[in-house]
Amino acid sequence: MADLLHTLSAAELGRRLSAGLLTSRTLCEALIARYHLLNKKVGAFTHLDERDVLTQADASDARRKAGQGRGPLEGIPVAIKDNIAVKGQPLTCSSQMLASLVSPYDAHVTERLRAAGAILYGRLNMDEFAMGSSTENSAIQKTFNPWDLACIPGGSSGGSAAALAAGLVPLALGSDTGGSIRQPASHCGIVGLKPTYGLISRFGLVAFASSLDQIGPMARCIEDCELLLSALASADARDMTCFAVADRALTPAGDAKKLRIGIPKGFLGKGVGAEVATAVTAAIDFYRSQGCAISEVELPSADLAVPTYYVVATAEASSNLGRYDGVRYGHRSASAGTPVEMMTNSRSEGFGAEVKRRILLGTFVLSAGYADAYYMRALRARSKIRAEYLAALATVDVLLTPTVPTPAFKVGEKASDPLQLYLEDIFTIPANLAGLPAISVPCGKSGHLPVGFHLVGAPLSEAKLLAAGRLFESAHGFAHQQAAL
């Protein structure tokens, strides 16, 4: 049985654990064996403390035996993107800057997972400080798409998506600032959900762009995604932007066949690859066949989303990353000098090229004389985009587009062209700007590479997104899919 455990969903594993058919130790040992077999190939994990995992697994098994199991996640491994704090584990953000950092505290989501009995299972590779769409910006290692090891897994939560697609772990946490959960989910053929801004505490998530960042669940099926989301969402007094709204977001939606689905006008034309367009059109046709009302909606400011995002996100990032200066923790330059010279040198050495590019851009758009033309203008555009999305979502339940215009590209293919890479997030960025929940659901293949469609809903409509995803998933064969490795 052990050789099949990696193919099972978290929900199914939970049922077997509950029934006494499986122990957490057996499960973890199987996954550790698979890690040794495949991680070098895929590069998903940057750190796995096997002894700690087995200690946690034994503790979980003991709890269960004593009748003190903590719920559906008891004993289930959850792998964590390396920008979410777990006490005693590295918190590198895949950056040289934090290569030596061990977190002295737990993120709120980590506390939630511990309270749910989950096994905190290893650290996942990412683009440095979550800046990127291919995980090629990791300063630690490359991650490859399990469906084609020559291709990128997407990013920035590329390690999370690749680990799931490779069957290295049943559940993973990602973070999403402009598409960083959904875009790699689409490229790796898994489910990824970015919750409504404020549904999940950001306490313990290393900030990239604070007004856009959200932690979210990644899984191989809708049921698992929902399971993990339920565990994560709760109020937290340590994050003033986190609200006690979990109950509203998770209240079961009505009949998914009655959903009104809006298709943004012209979206399928925008550089969308033919096979992606085919797969997404088929998904739209499926929903129509199920009785859903399909209509076209206008989002005239949607074209502003990418430039708006790259002003707002980089502005916030330039400030958020200011704290990495070698004074208190992290990389400190060996070259002597005044304290300020030491800070300058530490930053020059510790950050990678893309991070520096974004810090420079963000510093520029906030600087005196330019802030009005860039930052303030971007804030106005953001308000406009949000207003248009909310207006559209008053007439339809969800908006459907591809998650990414084209399937995963070859490693290195776009490394020298950041602007082209930024377009990877053209469909996903508006949900972050507007603070809306969004999900990527696998819906087909372009060649041998997965394709996903993207749903955006009104604030706290997570249950609707999941219901819509479940309706599609139950009629198609894309759930639980894993690459053959």
């Binding site: 400030s319 704290r323 800070m343 802030a371």
Partner: protein
């Protein structure tokens, strides 16, 4: 063509940074206080560890609103925080959370009192407008040791209210009076302790000069980080003289940031306008706009104490106190409230009570405090009424005994000393010591007549009758001797005059 200093008018605006009296830091739960080991009062939020987030401390918000109410500002419906970005090792996040566009206090005014021509005479009063006050976080402290640098983040994140005045001050004396009044308002409302020795109040001082009568303001300089009222006063005097000297020599004033060397009593240039930082302010995305409910404002309004000078006016006008006593009492809210409790217990003689409080009580309290300090080698504590052995009603009792002629003023001093030592009631001490005056007219008449009959005083009687008023005093000694000093001196005087016709 030379001009005298009086041809120039100085215009001063102050930015006063006050550490608020709170248990925890402004965006973290870490406590703070003075005199701790370096980096003892920090946590992951204060240190800006990756992933940590600020949470606004309600106590700091309420103290700030309370200050706004104390100076009569209209409390805004909402306030918000911005990030001020700059790199320095004492700044753990390399941005400071402050309030640029939506401060917590907008408007208001502080009444000030200038020194009178003497201590007994009240000086001119005037109002200084508050432009706004914003709630921000303090930074740590960087020090250089040998070849390296050390940084202490204990101070980082301490709640700091920056109070910005309009340019309403016109002299060093006004600046000084403003700060004294501000400190009294802040401490009396419990908003801040303002202990300048501990750096709890720091001041940036903007100074410009213009020809008297001119409307247009001159170019100003800003002298930063003054940590005492005397430094502010000295800076204004120095900077005024310097600017007059520059302008009269035909030079211009450069808009610049300056420092102050208190030991040398000299200012110096820190940086000029071209070096000004670009702080890249933007709204902090971690702290949502804070709405200030009217219920909170109404609740805090109840905590606003009577203002310094309203109290002073009441003492002079309603209680009939001399200005000197009133001004001493109102400077300390605890002292004023102590005084008022005593007056409530004996409303007939507020002035008598005020005399005891401002002279005897303060003197003895200071002496006992100083004695304690000698023993412990500690900083002398401020006058503390909490440990005062005499309670307000007890002092009222003493004044009442004097007013009723039960004891003489001289005896009252003796009783007061005993009260301060033992905390006993005045009447108990009077009885125990047998100090009660003899006011038995019949008995005293006999003694007075016996003394008058004594030939030893015949000469004095003759002198008195010849018109020498003072000669009567020679008869009082023997009377006191016969009564063991207990005779009511007022009564004796009356009886002597009656019998000597």
């Amino acid at each position: 063509m030379s001009s005298s200093p009086s041809d120039w008018e100085v215009v001063i605006g102050l930015e006063v940074h006050v550490q608020l009296h709170t248990r925890a830091k402004v965006f973290a739960s870490s406590p703070w206080g003075f005199g701790k080991e370096p980096n003892e009062q920090v946590d992951s939020v204060v240190l800006g560890l990756p992933g940590t987030l600020p949470v606004v401390n309600r106590e700091a918000v309420e103290k700030s609103i309370l200050f706004g109410l104390v100076v009569g500002s209209s409390v805004p419906e909402q306030c918000a925080w911005d990030r001020k970005n700059y790199f320095y090792p004492d700044n753990p996040k390399n941005y400071q959370l402050t309030q640029k566009d939506f401060p917590i206090v907008v408007g208001g005014q502080v009444e000030i009192e200038l020194p009178g021509i003497s201590r007994n005479v009240m000086g001119e009063h005037k109002f200084v407008r508050i432009h706004h006050a914003h709630l921000e976080e303090d930074v740590g402290k960087l020090s250089h040791a040998g070849s390296g640098s050390l940084v202490d983040y204990n101070r980082a994140g301490v709640p700091l209210l920056e109070i910005v005045t309009e340019p309403d001050l016109r002299s060093a004396a006004e600046a000084e009076a403003f700060l004294r009044s501000l400190v009294a308002l802040l401490t009396q409302a419990g908003v801040a302790d303002c202990d300048m020795e501990k750096g709890q109040l720091r001041c940036d001082c903007n100074v410009s000069i213009r020809r008297r009568g001119a409307e247009k303001l001159g170019t100003r300089t800003e002298t930063k980080n003054l940590n005492s009222i005397s430094s502010v006063r000295d800076t204004v005097i120095y900077e005024t003289a310097r600017q007059i000297r520059e302008l009269e020599a035909g030079r211009t004033i450069t808009q610049e940031t300056r420092g102050w060397n208190a030991e040398l009593s000299r200012g110096y240039v820190l940086r000029d306008k071209e070096d000004a930082h670009d702080y890249r302010y933007f709204p902090d995305p971690d702290i949502p706009t804070l709405r200030i409910s009217r219920e909170t404002v109404a609740r805090l309004q109840k905590l606003v104490p009577e203002s310094l000078y309203d109290r002073q006016r009441r003492y002079v006008e309603k209680l009939g106190l001399p200005f000197t006593a009133a001004s001493v009492l109102v400077n300390d809210r605890e002292l004023a409230e102590w005084f008022e409790l005593a007056v409530a217990a004996h409303p007939a003689n507020p002035q008598g009570i005020a005399n005891w409080v401002t002279n005897d009580l303060l003197r003895d309290l200071a002496a006992s405090g100083a004695a304690g300090a000698l023993l412990t080698d500690a900083v002398p504590p401020a006058v503390s009424l909490a440990s005062c052995p005499i309670k307000p009603a007890q002092l009222a009792g003493l004044v009442k005994l004097t007013d009723e002629g039960v004891i003489s003023k001289q005896q009252a001093k003796e009783v007061f000393t005993e009260m301060f030592k033992t905390g006993q009631e005045a009447v108990a001490i009077v009885d125990a010591k047998g100090l009660r005056q003899n006011s038995d007219t019949g008995e005293l008449e006999k003694i007075v007549q016996a003394v008058i009959a004594d030939p030893a005083v015949a000469k004095s009687i003759a002198e008195y009758r010849a018109g020498n008023e003072k000669a009567i005093n020679a008869l009082k000694g023997p009377i006191m001797k016969r009564t063991q000093g207990k005779a009511n001196p007022v009564l004796i005087d009356q009886l002597l005059r009656k019998f000597l016709g």
